[in-house]
Each structure stands twice: as C-alpha cells, then as structure tokens.
Amino acid sequence: MGVEESLGLDLMQQSAIREIANIGLGNATTSLATMTGRFFNMTVPFVESVRLEALPALLGGFEQLTVGIYMKVEGDVPGYMGFLMTWESAQSLWQSLLGQCPQTLEDIDPLASSTLLEIGNIINSGFLVAIGDMTNLELRSTPPEMGADMAGSILSSIVTEASMGDFTALSIRTEIFDESHSFEGFFVYIPSNGGLQKLFETLGIATPIAEEAA
C-alpha cells in the first residue's frame, strides 16, 4: 500500500513530505556527525510509505533483535516518531561513542541506555525541527523511550499506542548509514489525520481527505 492509496495524497503533498524528510534527515545526520565525530551518509531521501507490518522484514524478521527509540509528539501535528536500528548498528554506535558496547540485553547499563536515548532524540528532533521550520507549526516532543527486543514487539508496541487515536497509517522509511555500513537505521513517522491535514493547510496544499475507515 503506497502513501497515495492509503491517504489520497496528491503529488504536491507527497513531495512536501519528501522535502520535510529530506531536511529532517539532513538535520539529523549533521547532529549525529557532530556528536560522534563520524561521517554519515543518508540515502537520497526517497521517502516511501511502508506498512508498519512490513518493517520487521526490513529489520531482518519479526524476531530479530532490534533497538527502537520512540517519542510521542504533541502540538499542532500530534503523532509518534520512532527510530529503529538493528542490534549490530546500536553496538556500532555504542562502540564509537563509549569505546565499549553491551554484548547482551542485560549489559545495557544506564550510561548505554541514556546514550542511545540521546541519539534517538537527536534523530527524531531533526524531523521535528524540519517541520517546524517549514510551517511555523508548534510541535513538542515528549521524553523518548527506548526498547531493545524483537522487531515485532518493538513495532507493534508503537503501532498499538498510535492505533488508540485517529492516526494515519503512514510510515516513512529513510536510511542513515556510515561509510562502512556498520550503522543503518529506519525512521518511522505516524502523524494524526487532523495534524497531517493542518500541515498541508499551512503549506497551502491541502485537499479534503476523504473520510475513510482506517
């Protein structure tokens, strides 16, 4: 299911979302590089809509050990943002930031968890800032939470919280990676229907979204 099918987004709206992701990803990689002293690439921001159910496959399967950092977004465009990476990617980040890395889940100490929470915060905030800059809408993030577990349980827990309200089943997948490809991650964004509409209105590209049972 593409963005167009699920949301009825027109070309302008698709390109606006792509542009926001582009800028957001740029913000995120810059901050990440400054913090880690490493060089990061990003894929040409080809923003695609992936059904959240399809994401576990990209992370290596439902039971693949995955680290997820997510936060709730409040304000004009409420929703959820999450950044997901494989365990190996998380280990690579830990190694470069702390000079050591947890070998098992039990090894994740407060220093290790707060380090990755901060990385997640930086990446997610990059997108928030991009939306804010483009639209002047007010967006606030809540403190991030992190989990390290099966890809399926991480993702379904995010989806579940989002499915309690009127949220669009939109997810944006983007990729950030370093030169040796030892780090790779996916960004997921789940805006509320009303918030997405407001976003498009602010940009002057709103079209009435057809009422549709989610």
């Binding site: 098992t104 379904s156 827990s157």
Partner: protein
C-alpha cells in the same frame, strides 16, 4: 519429519484451525496472543489482541483488535467451526512493556498491563478461565500453539523456547 503448516496471526487478526497445524503470534509486545482449544472437536483458534476496549464512538472494523470484542469473536468463530463452548480451554501470553528505558519517568499508560486485565475480565464474564498465562514484564514474546498436541510454547530474545502449558493436558 513432516513440517506442519504454520499460520502467523497478525495484529488484530483471529485465525481458526481444525485438525492439525501451528498457530503463532510473532514478536508480541504490548499485544496479547490468546489461544483457545476444543480438544474433542479438534478446533483451535488464536487472537492477536492490540487494545483493551473498542472505542465507543467508532465502528469496530476488526473485532480481533480489542479485548472486549476479540474474546467473544474468537469464541463465536470457534463455535462456527464446530467447537462447543463448554469444552473450550484458554491460554495467553504478551502484554509486555518493551520500552523499558526512559530519560524521564514513564508517564504513559501501560497498555500491556491494561490488555492483560481486559482479556482476563472478558474471559471471566463468560465464565472461562486460563489454563496457562505469561504476561507483563519487559520482554517481547513469540507464542506458538501446536493444535494437534495442544502444546503452547513461549520464547523471548534472551530465553530459550519453553513450554507454557498444554491445552490438551
């Protein structure tokens, strides 16, 4: 060795199997996997429940999504497949809080815990009890149910697969 057909029960889905096969919920986080069996009729089912209660102001598109609609829907589908209500036995797993690390305090509600309570209440209302349960905690779980043997197993990232209970036992 013959490989049994395995049916993965996705979020908000309910699957029914007659005879033999394996039902599974992969990577349960805050969701609950609820298994049911009528051993005599050889009819089994599994529901992948996401939330405690359907929204009062919205139509329910998929009854399996909510505990209060999913439990009766699972039972109805089992009956339609030939199961008898008074022979049904149940087991469940899931309802964890996988986002255990946080910069501040956990301010949000624990959906997993609420799901657990909601499924228990829905079962109780219909006078059913659980043969086996493993809920809560911080670990995501994969739940498998071998319909022919009745064996229900749970595995997590850090623990090897182990038996939860046997619905034929």
């Amino acid at each position: 060795m013959a490989v049994l057909a395995s049916t993965v029960v996705g979020m908000a889905e309910i699957e029914i199997i007659k005879g033999q096969g394996i039902l599974s919920c992969l990577g349960l986080g805050s969701c609950i996997g609820l298994c049911a069996l009528d051993a005599q009729a050889g009819v089994a089912g599994m529901a992948h429940i996401m939330l405690p209660e359907a929204f009062a102001d919205k139509p329910v598109d998929r009854p399996g999504k909510f505990a209060n609609t999913g439990v009766p829907a699972l039972i109805q589908l089992l009956e339609e497949a030939g199961a008898s209500k008074n022979r049904l036995v149940f087991a469940m797993a899931g309802g964890a809080r996988v986002f255990k690390f946080s910069a501040g305090t956990h301010s949000r509600m624990d959906i997993g815990a609420r799901n657990n309570i909601a499924v228990l209440e829905s079962l109780k209302k219909l006078n059913f009890r659980l043969r086996g349960t493993e809920t809560g905690g911080n670990l995501g779980r994969t739940l498998t149910f071998n319909v022919e043997t009745g064996l229900i197993r749970v595995r997590t990232i850090s623990q090897a697969e182990r038996d939860l209970c046997n619905l034929r036992g």
